[in-house]
Symmetry: C3
Subunit: 419 residues, 3 copies
């Protein structure tokens, strides 16, 4: 008995440590988004996007702690659609509860779970950031971040992961192709529609002008950071590692996550080569991310071979989606809506390929429910912000760049000073 | 009995692994300092600061192994002020000792503890690097690094963490707001005073000229690296994770570390906006680091809400400190003295807000003791180096940049060649 | 009995988690190589090398899964020289097998081992990338990557780590100074010989022209990433952590890995200062990597002091090797052949300094066997690719840079546009 209790304590510690390491890797994705986005924009808007990425993660941390987590995982719920709010981070588990032998006894620190959930909220918000780059006011963005991480993201998170109605309906989304990635992308889409494209992106006769990013090594670094962080994102979402079955499961999730990214790179590279005749680095990077998003809804049941294919389809999709959005004049400087939204939907549907518990109806229901909630709620919030303070910087500010006007400094003062 | 011994072995392995992962994260902070500092200086001094950061970590590793660790954690002590030196890394623990059941039986690998302590010494030395940037001779700096990591840092480390008199006096410093951060900053302050400001930083009529950093994305990356590494820095300093209570404690430390950083970002951003009218990226980054430094002396007893506030106060302080030091003509290109020194003191005092065992007297005693020892010892070492070989590069070398003269290469030869 | 079985499950989970964390750190080395190489080349070839690094890791992942792993660790072997192929990733271990008490019962997830092995194959391929930079066709490189990660690397990996004849002959190579690093370097050497030097590197009268890298902060970052990732590379290669002896061993491996890198930095910095009169950053970075390569064949049996010396000798060697290869007109833009090849050989021989089981004959046999196999096989593959599609871009393309021609974009369009 003494030994069995001691084993429960060690298991608890191991599962907690696994959560914390996974959470630290997901926090690290904030750096990945910051580098990816700052490499993909022009130098004159780089300081602004860096400031935005650091600030949004801070805002997400505070708002998710005070409001969001309590909405997403409420101690009491009103019903399965509208969660209660406790505004409270409870005390952590006592030893007696852990070793009680009771059904549902806690097996890892609740505070480590909070940390893991918090960094997911940060990731969802980071997705929005890139799509509205180079023209949205920083203050307007940060106000949106408050609502996004307090309410919009947590409510649909409650529906699925908090045990709400979508979960009851059989919607499956292991690590958040829908709950995190599509949610971020749909919030971004609502913002982009109200915001409009960057000046000069689309010509009067339908021409699409490429606006190259200023620093592609840093964008590549961002992609590698995200790839690495995704091992925590998907790997941690198994929520347990401390026995043989769970350890095997987490291992398979790691492998499938890597294979999907690899498949996405290769497919996007080939697709872009066939379409454009070039080895397109930014498409390869988006292919990696697309593969990762695609496998996120179900990284456990596919074989590694199938995971590669799921990622590869994501990689093909992202190339076509990016070119299609440009034709629709939806200006997304980093491709976030395509990577996280279009491929997020693919990821949700791809669950059907390997998980026998998934149903087409439930997956579609999840897509529609999340889309409608996030789009409508985001649109209203963006709309109110626009009405009160505006979303967009002035035309001259956009031309000169947001860095000097908003932030008072340049990202690369010595490299661009003569330009 | 067999089972209990086996559990002790697994616990030992888990605690050791937790130490090693934490240590690897702290080693990674060396990259964070290197990126932060190289982004904050001008391109003409970038190779030098990169060389310095790589080299100082190497010097710290060797000197701390040969001398420093043995001073800080001596097998024999002369008394609680002056430690003995063994010049020896002992053999690691035997199984029999681990499972002996004896009071104080080793519960993790001593070699993993050495690794964890070594990377802390590297971090302390990295702090010095930024403050003396753009004008100190590389050779002089590296000679100081030898003394700092062999003697200056370890002696006060022994006083607190090695079980010396400051520990006995009740001084509390969980992960080193004082022992590491203030120590690094005070050593830097002594050097800066003897070194003087960069040419052109302060005008003859008291003007302060901003000298913008050359590469802010890389400085932002450095900050994110430090944020991530701090989970190892503070999280590992709990020193155990293998039971329910310890796992809960480490989890709370992770959360509080993150919340303090978030509070620091938001507070510094708002403070700078109110003072300067701009969203100041470098202040936001320093705010993140200030929040992290502020929570380092006590990341375990505050609630996450209080941790946010402690970090936020750090974020406000750092903005005022940086502007004040400039008025005093103490030229610190990256704000290291403010971030690690001024906010380090705040962190030591903030222990009083949540830890009932802390006393005002003991915390003040710790601040004064560390300050006096580190300042006096560092001043003497810097002074001797200055007398023998000089601290400062020549005026022409400073004007032309240290990179071509000292290092024979440019950091960005194609971006700056016409300037 | 119940308790002992439960302990086996927790141990299994801990060893698996240790493998996964180690593997994620090694995957992260792909980012390190990408940053190191992209910082060391000229801006006009930067997009190409980034595309190459992302793509090669994807190709390595897929090919190693489908073919390579099955060759390196075959379920059935024809003999100890020629492995069988199963084209199959087996199911993971069942609980009953883990707790069976049988000799050789599985103690960690096979899928986590596959992940760990896969990222090693990626690392071996990444080494090749830098040496052929700035002039090799991307398509030719990626075709070579297919053969390298399917066959060339796995066959010699089978000889040693898969239990083949080199292992039986007593050749010792803990984490792959030979199996990974020398292998990558020898494959690169064969390619470089067939490819020839970059235009302008060597003058008609034997002059050697330095071709400076475009972005040294990013190259330094790459080195720090590799340093960090090496804790997973060497630390994970102990293959177990879950008891006192293994936890102590992994800890010593971490310490020795760090000390060798530190020794390499200091030795290379001093050597270069004595030879060239400058503090040479790129030599310091190569010194760090040389130290790491040198300790990789045996990071467990040396004391930390000896590890420092082994790394330092690597740091001296790499400086002389780089200058010697230039005299031989073997053009290796990032020094990969010296760092991984020449120092890899030193690492294999350095096993003799501390491991009583090593014999001079077996270590030499390993060097020769790996060299001959990898060189001949690589030379044939490169030769066939050259005959069919060519290895080298056209002269004009090389002059203009590969980025615009092959990839259709520039890495830094705003920093270099007037040049």
């Amino acid at each position: 008995m003494e030994a069995l209790n001691a084993i429960k304590e060690v298991s608890y510690a191991l599962d907690t440590f696994y959560f914390l390491v996974s959470g630290a890797l997901v926090m690290w994705m904030a750096a990945g988004f910051a580098m990816l986005e700052s490499g993909m924009v022009r130098s004159k808007n780089t300081v602004e996007i860096l400031t935005k990425n650091v600030s949004l993660f801070a805002v997400a941390s505070v708002m998710y702690m005070v409001v969001g987590y309590n909405i997403m995982y409420p101690a009491d719920t009103i019903n399965s659609v509208i969660p209660g709010v406790s505004f409270f981070l409870g005390a952590d588990n006592a030893v007696a509860d852990v070793v009680s032998g009771a059904e549902g006894a806690p097996y890892y620190s609740g505070m480590s779970d909070f940390f893991f959930q918090l960094v997911f909220a940060g990731a969802a918000m980071s997705i929005v950031s890139g799509a509205v780059a180079e023209r949205m006011k920083l203050s307007s963005f940060l106000i949106f971040a408050i609502f996004m991480t307090s309410i919009i993201y947590p409510v649909q998170g409650f529906w699925k992961w908090g045990g709400g109605w979508l979960d009851a309906a059989g919607f499956l989304d292991f690590a958040g192709s829908g709950v995190v990635h599509m949610t971020g992308a749909v919030a971004a889409l609502a913002g982009v529609i109200l915001l409009g494209p960057r000046k000069g992106k689309y010509g009067p006769n339908g021409e699409i002008h490429a606006i190259p990013g200023a620093n592609l090594p840093i964008a590549t670094l961002g992609t590698f950071i995200l790839w690495m962080g995704w091992f925590g994102f998907n790997g941690g979402s198994e929520l347990m590692i401390s026995n043989v079955g769970e350890a095997n499961a987490v291992s398979l999730v790691f492998v499938n996550t890597n294979m999907a990214a690899a498949g996405g790179v290769i497919a996007a590279l080939i697709t872009a080569k066939l379409l454009f005749g070039k080895y397109d680095l930014t498409m390869a990077l988006n292919g990696a991310l697309a593969g990762l998003v695609a496998i996120t809804a179900e990284p456990l049941t596919p074989t590694p071979g199938l995971a590669t294919i799921i990622g590869a389809i994501g990689g093909v999709l992202v190339v076509f989606s990016i070119t299609t959005l440009d034709k629709l004049k939806i200006d997304d400087p980093v491709g976030a809506i395509s990577v996280h939204g279009v491929v997020g939907i693919w990821g949700i549907l791809a669950v059907l390929l390997s998980n026998g518990d998934a149903t087409f109806g439930a997956q579609i229901l999840g897509i529609v429910a999340i889309f409608v909630w996030v789009f409508v709620a985001s649109f209203i919030v963006w709309f109110i912000i626009k009405a009160i303070m505006g979303l967009r910087v002035g035309a001259e500010e956009e031309y000169e760049g947001m860095d000097l006007v908003d932030c008072g400094m340049e990202a690369y003062p010595e490299f661009t000073q003569n330009k």
